[in-house]
C-alpha cells in the first residue's frame, strides 16, 4: 500500500487533492451530507489551503494557486451555506484577524529564521523551542530588573545566544547527535526557566512591573484614501517587535543569499570539506550560525512574553519552536517561503480565538487547529523538501 502511494507523490497530485478538499469543504455542508458543524468546513478548507501551499512550494504554480483559492473560498462558502449568520462571520473574519495572524506568526518567524541560519550551516537545531523559552523568561526578568524593555530584549538575546552556544559545543566540537543535544537543550531550558521562575517569583506571577515592548501607532495609514481604514486596522497598532520581525526576515534573506558571509555559511552546510579546503573555518561558521539562531529564537520568545502577554508562565512556548522548525522545512530553508509558512500557521492560531468566542466552539478543540495544520502541511510535502547536504552531520577536521 505504501508502494502504491508512491506512484502519486508529486506536486500535481498534491495540488489536485488541495482543490478537491476545497470543493469538499463546501460540498459537505450541502444535502445529502448537510454537516452543520462550524469547524468542519474550516478544517477541510485549511487542509486544502495547506496542500495548495505545498504544491506551490514545489513549483506547481497553477494547481497550487487554484488549491489555495479553492481551499479559502470552499471553507468560506461552506460556512455561508451552513447558514451561520452573517454577523458572526463578519466578527470572525475581520482586519483584526489579519493583525492577530501577524502577531501569532511573529515568534514563529523569528525562530524559523534562526532555524534557517543554523540548518544552512549544517547544524540541525530542534533546540529552538528551548531557546525561545529562555528568551521569554529572561526578557521578563531583564525588563523587571532594569525597568525597560530594551534591556529585556538584550537579556533574551544574550541568554538565547548562550544556550545556543551550549548546543553548538555539543554538536560541533563534541559531535554529539544533534537531535539528542537539541532535545536536551529543550529539557534544560524547561527546567532552568521553571526553576528560576519559582525561585525568583514564588507567587507564580512576576513581582514588579514588566515593561512591555511598545506598539507603534501608525495613524497616518488612516488617511490613505480607500483602503486606509483597513490598513490602519491591520498594521496600525502592531508591536515594534512585529516590525523587527519583518526586518529580520529581509535581513536573513540578504545575508544568506547576497553576501559573502551567507555564501560561506551555506557552503559549510552543503560541503564542509570543500569549504575547509578553500580556507573557510567550518567550525567558526557553524558556531556563528548557531549562536545567531539562538539570538533570533530568543527574540521570538521575548515577543511571546514581553511583547504579547506581558508575563511569563512555565512552558509558555508550547511547541512553537517545533512549528517554526516545520515552517523551515515547509519553506525549503528559504527565508521568504518560511515566512509565508509561519503566516499560514499563525493564521491557524489566530482563527482559534474568534472561533471560540463567536461560534462557541470548545477552546480545547480549536487549540488543536495549528497543530493539525502543521501536521497536514508537513505530511503534504511528500518528501520533496531537500535539506542542505551536510545538515545534521558533524564535521571532523583533518
Amino acid at each position: 500500500m505504501i508502494e502504491l502511494l508512491d506512484r502519486y507523490r508529486n506536486a500535481r497530485t498534491v495540488g489536485a487533492v488541495g482543490i478537491a478538499l476545497g470543493v469538499l469543504a463546501f460540498w459537505l455542508t450541502l444535502p445529502p451530507f448537510s454537516i452543520r458543524a462550524f469547524g468542519v468546513p474550516i478544517v477541510v478548507g485549511l487542509a486544502g489551503l495547506a496542500l495548495g501551499f505545498a504544491a506551490l512550494s514545489q513549483g506547481e504554480r497553477r494547481l497550487g494557486g487554484f488549491a489555495i483559492a479553492f481551499g479559502f473560498i470552499g471553507g468560506l462558502a461552506g460556512l455561508w451555506a451552513q447558514g451561520v449568520d452573517k454577523a458572526t462571520l463578519e466578527d470572525v473574519l475581520t482586519a483584526g484577524l489579519l493583525a492577530s495572524t501577524l502577531r501569532f506568526a511573529t515568534p514563529l518567524a523569528f525562530a524559523a529564521m534562526g532555524g534557517i541560519f543554523s540548518e544552512r550551516s549544517g547544524v540541525v537545531n530542534i533546540g529552538l523551542e528551548g531557546m525561545m523559552l529562555i528568551g521569554a523568561f529572561f526578557a521578563v526578568w531583564g525588563s523587571i530588573w532594569s525597568g525597560t524593555w530594551v534591556v529585556g530584549l538584550l537579556m533574551a538575546m544574550i541568554f538565547g545566544g548562550l544556550l545556543a552556544l551550549v548546543h553548538g559545543v555539543f554538536s560541533i566540537h563534541l559531535r554529539a547527535d544533534q537531535i539528542v543535544s537539541g532535545f536536551a537543550v529543550n529539557l534544560f531550558a524547561l527546567g532552568l526557566t521553571g526553576y528560576l521562575f519559582s525561585a525568583l517569583y514564588p507567587e507564580g506571577i512576576p513581582a514588579g512591573d514588566v515593561s512591555r515592548v511598545p506598539n507603534l501607532a501608525l495613524n497616518f495609514l488612516d488617511r490613505i484614501p480607500g483602503i486606509g481604514s483597513f490598513l490602519h486596522d491591520v498594521f496600525g497598532g502592531l508591536s515594534l517587535l512585529v516590525w523587527l520581525m519583518f526586518l529580520a526576515v529581509a535581513l536573513s534573506y540578504v545575508v544568506l543569499f547576497k553576501t559573502a558571509i551567507g555564501l560561506r555559511i551555506r557552503s559549510v552546510g552543503e560541503h564542509p570539506r570543500a569549504a575547509d579546503t578553500v580556507g573557510i573555518s567550518v567550525y567558526g561558521m557553524r558556531y556563528g550560525a548557531v549562536v545567531v539562531s539562538g539570538v533570533l529564537a530568543a527574540l521570538g520568545g521575548a515577543f511571546l512574553s514581553i511583547g504579547f502577554v506581558g508575563t511569563f508562565s512555565e512552558n509558555m512556548t508550547s511547541g512553537r519552536g517545533f512549528i517554526a522548525l516545520a515552517a523551515v522545512i515547509f519553506g525549503k530553508w528559504r527565508p521568504g517561503l518560511a515566512f509565508l509558512a509561519t503566516l499560514l500557521f499563525g493564521f491557524g492560531f489566530a482563527l482559534a480565538i474568534p472561533l471560540q468566542r463567536e461560534a462557541g466552539i470548545s477552546e480545547n478543540l480549536v487549540s488543536t487547529f495549528p497543530y493539525v495544520l502543521t501536521l497536514v502541511a508537513v505530511a503534504g510535502l511528500i518528501g520533496r523538501s531537500i535539506p542542505p547536504a551536510a545538515d545534521g552531520r558533524p564535521y571532523i577536521k583533518q
Binding site: F183, G191, P202, S362
Partner: protein, 401 residues
C-alpha cells in the same frame, strides 16, 4: 569509579581487538552513563548552591523521599513503614517511565527519534479508560486484558500515524510526533471537558467516570493505593522488547534499517515498512504505559491531568539506559526516585522547596542527556581520548524532513 579502564601504554591499532579495546567494550557501555550521572548531579548541585541552598542536605532529603532506604536492613519501625509506602510510589511511577522509554528505544533501534510518547501514552490511557468505564459485567481477568489491549492498540494507532507519514511522505517523525502530542493533549481535554463526549456522570466536573472494579489491576503490596502488578508487566515488556529486537526477523530488519538504511534497502529489507512498524510498535509500548496507569491507580482522568510529562522523562530514561533493557530498568528507577523524592508530599519545604526541586530534576535529566549524548566528552574527561581511536559518529541518512 573503579570501572575506568586503565589506559594502555601503546595506542591500540584501529580495527584489531586489543585488551584495552575489549575492556572498553565490556565496561564502556556502563561507564558513560555512570559518569554522566555523577556529572549531572554535580552541576545540579551547583545550581542548588547558587540559589542559596545546601546541595548535600537537599540531595539527602530527596533520597529519603524515594523509599529506596527500605532496602537498608537497619531501617525499622515507623521509618520502615514510610519507606515501604514511598518505595511503592516510586515503583508505581517507574512503570510508565520504563514503558515510555521502551517506546523511544524501540524506534531508536530503527534510526527514528520518537518524541511522541506523550501523545501515544494519552491515547492508550483514554482507550483503556473507555473500556474500563463503558463495558460492564465482564470477569476481571478478561476486562483487564481487554483494557490493556485497547491501550496498546490506541498507542499503536497514534504512533502508526507518524510512522505512516514518515514511510509515505518522508515527513520527519520529530515534528509529526510533537504535533501529535499536542493534538492528543488538547483533544483529550476536549473529550472530558464540561459537555465533552466522554465527560463523566457529574455534569459540573470536567472529569471521567471511575472505571469498573473488574477492570482494575491487582494490588499486591500495601493499599491505598499500594503497588499494582504493572511493574511486572513493565519487566515483561522489557523482555518482549529484547526478544523482538534480537530473536525475530522483524527485529533484525529494524536494526539493519537503523544501522544503515541504504544497505538495508539493497539487501531487500522494506525500509519504509520498517519505519511504519517501528513507530507503531513503539507507540504500543507507550499506549501500554497509559493503560497501566489508568487501570492500575488513576482509575479516572481530569482535564487538568493532561499536563503531566511522564513520557518526556521516558526519553531521558531511554537515552540514559542506552536503549538496553537492563539500563532502561535502572534508569527508570533513578528518574522515578528523583520525581517521587522531589514531590511536595515527600520533600520537607524547610530544606528545599518542592516547587524548585521538580524543576531541578528536569534540569538534571537534561544534563544526563547532554552528557550521555556526548560520549566524546566523557571519554575526554577520563583522558582516554589519546588512547582510543575515536569512531566518527555514525552517519545517518540525511534527515528527509
Amino acid at each position: 569509579m573503579s570501572e575506568a579502564p586503565t589506559p594502555p601504554a601503546e595506542p591500540p591499532e584501529a580495527g584489531l581487538p586489543t585488551v584495552s579495546g575489549i575492556v572498553y567494550e565490556r565496561v564502556g557501555g556502563a561507564l558513560v552513563p555512570l559518569a554522566a550521572t555523577v556529572l549531572a548531579f554535580l552541576i545540579g548541585g551547583l545550581v542548588v548552591l547558587i540559589t542559596g541552598h545546601n546541595p548535600l542536605t537537599a540531595y539527602r532529603a530527596i533520597f529519603n523521599g524515594t523509599g529506596f532506604n527500605w532496602f537498608f536492613p537497619w531501617v525499622s519501625g515507623d521509618e520502615r513503614v514510610t519507606a515501604a509506602r514511598d518505595l511503592q510510589e516510586t515503583l508505581r511511577v517507574a512503570t510508565p517511565m520504563i514503558l515510555t522509554a521502551l517506546a523511544v528505544a524501540f524506534a531508536f533501534k530503527a534510526g527514528l527519534f520518537n518524541i511522541g510518547g506523550q501523545g501515544q501514552y494519552w491515547i492508550g490511557f483514554i482507550s483503556a479508560l473507555v473500556v474500563g468505564t463503558q463495558i460492564h459485567g465482564l470477569p476481571r481477568p478478561l476486562h483487564v486484558l481487554l483494557g490493556i489491549g485497547a491501550g496498546i492498540l490506541g498507542g499503536m494507532f497514534w504512533g502508526g500515524i507518524a510512522g505512516f507519514l514518515r514511510a509515505t511522505s518522508g515527513a520527519h517523525e520529530v515534528i509529526t510526533t510533537i504535533m501529535l502530542n499536542w493534538i492528543a493533549i488538547f483533544g483529550g481535554q476536549y473529550l472530558f471537558e464540561l459537555g465533552g463526549h466522554l465527560q463523566g456522570s457529574n455534569p459540573s466536573l470536567p472529569r471521567s467516570d471511575v472505571i469498573d472494579d473488574s477492570a482494575k489491576l491487582w494490588v499486591f503490596w500495601g493499599h491505598f493505593p499500594g503497588l499494582h502488578v504493572g511493574i511486572f508487566i513493565a519487566v515483561a515488556a522489557l523482555v518482549v522488547y529484547s526478544l523482538i529486537l534480537n530473536r525475530t526477523t522483524l527485529g533484525f530488519g529494524l536494526r539493519a534499517v537503523g544501522f544503515n538504511p541504504e544497505a538495508a534497502r539493497y539487501s531487500g529489507i522494506p525500509v519504509r515498512r520498517s519505519y511504519f512498524l517501528a513507530l507503531a510498535i513503539a507507540g504500543g509500548f507507550a499506549g501500554l504505559a497509559g493503560a497501566i496507569d489508568v487501570l492500575g491507580f488513576k482509575y479516572s482522568v481530569d482535564t487538568s491531568d493532561f499536563g503531566s510529562g511522564v513520557a518526556f522523562t521516558g526519553i531521558a530514561v531511554a537515552l540514559l539506559g542506552r536503549n538496553k533493557p537492563v539500563g532502561i530498568f535502572f534508569a527508570g528507577l533513578l528518574f522515578a526516585g528523583l520525581q517521587v523524592g522531589t514531590s511536595s508530599r515527600h520533600l520537607d519545604p524547610e530544606i528545599f522547596e518542592p516547587a524548585l526541586a521538580s524543576d531541578l530534576s528536569t534540569m538534571i535529566q537534561a544534563l544526563f542527556i547532554f552528557f550521555v549524548g556526548a560520549d566524546v566528552l566523557i571519554i575526554y574527561i577520563w583522558r582516554l581520548r589519546r588512547y582510543l581511536k575515536l569512531r566518527p559518529t555514525p552517519r545517518e541518512e540525511p534527515a528527509r524532513l
